[in-house]
């Protein structure tokens, strides 16, 4: 019964990653996947383990399928409502799901770096202005005198 093992293992791997979903959605997806596999097996007469693996490969890895399930489940099922300055901005937060879909959005360290650079620049500007102003107040007497004379 090696061939059913492949299918059963796949479904278990998917189920493991769906723990953050509402029960009915979890059951629905697993039933849909199971039906899909059984339908193709019946229609194509897929019996060998190789054929089953091909069916599973076309379905996609458990990670990819689970990520899609969370995405389609909407924000209500995302158990992370508040902003969290963590390194992973991905909206796919089940504890068992690997960080497959991370990588979109700017990394936090980059935002920090840019903010620091901007701050430094502003401080520099203020400093320069202050310097210009103080040296400016020293300078006026001769300057207007020259222009008035000229």
């Amino acid at each position: 019964m090696n061939r059913t093992d492949v299918v059963g293992e796949y479904l278990r791997e998917v189920e493991l990653r769906l723990s953050g979903l509402p029960l009915l959605q979890r059951r629905e997806l697993l039933a849909d996947l199971e039906t899909h596999i059984a339908t193709l097996r019946a229609e194509q007469g897929a019996q060998s383990e190789g054929e089953l693996i091909e069916i599973l490969e076309r379905l996609g890895s458990p990670e990819v399928v689970a990520a899609a399930a969370y995405e389609e489940a909407g924000p209500r099922s995302a158990p992370m409502p508040g902003p969290m300055p963590g390194p992973m901005p991905a909206p796919v937060p089940p504890p068992t799901a690997p960080a497959q879909s991370a990588g979109s959005g700017l990394p936090w360290w980059l935002i920090g770096l840019v903010a620091a650079a901007v701050l430094l620049f502003l401080v520099g500007c203020v400093g320069l202005m202050f310097f210009a102003q103080t040296s400016g107040t020293d300078a006026p007497p001769p300057a207007p005198a020259i222009t008035r004379v000229g």
Binding site: V14, Q25, E28, L29, D32, L33, T35, H36, A38, T39, L40, R41, A42, E43, R58, L59, G60, S61, V64, V65, A68, A69, E71, E72, A73, G74, S101, G103, S104
Partner: protein
């Protein structure tokens, strides 16, 4: 995720669901059939298993209806039907899509 995969994911988001609605517009279709037709479209590059969560959402928002039915071979099939609100949503998308596509074509320089 590679840049190319990221791009196709972004492009699919918001459009794929209307492709699903259009697939069952004329005739009810069952899950495996819908999924298989997506799998055959190479430019959509969809992992077939990701279509089921999409079908689930479309059913939950009331754009699709589903019912189980016996099949001549294999397990019972789950048939999907376009509801009235699904039909309206599809019609609305068609109008929006044409003007959206024309604008992008003009801006990106892909006009025919």
């Amino acid at each position: 995720m590679t840049d190319a995969a990221q791009l196709s994911t972004s492009l699919r988001r918001g459009t794929l669901e209307f492709c699903v609605l259009a697939m069952v517009e004329r005739e009810d279709s069952y899950g495996t059939e819908i999924v298989r037709r997506f799998g055959a479209e190479r430019s959509l590059a969809t992992s077939e298993g990701t279509v089921y969560p999409l079908l689930s959402r479309l059913r939950r928002v009331g754009w699709l209806d589903s019912k189980w039915s016996e099949s001549p071979a294999g397990p019972p099939r789950r048939y999907y039907t376009l509801t009235d609100s699904g039909r309206a949503a599809l019609q609305h998308f068609r109008t929006e899509w044409v003007s959206f596509r024309q604008t992008v074509d003009r801006l990106v320089g892909t006009e025919a």
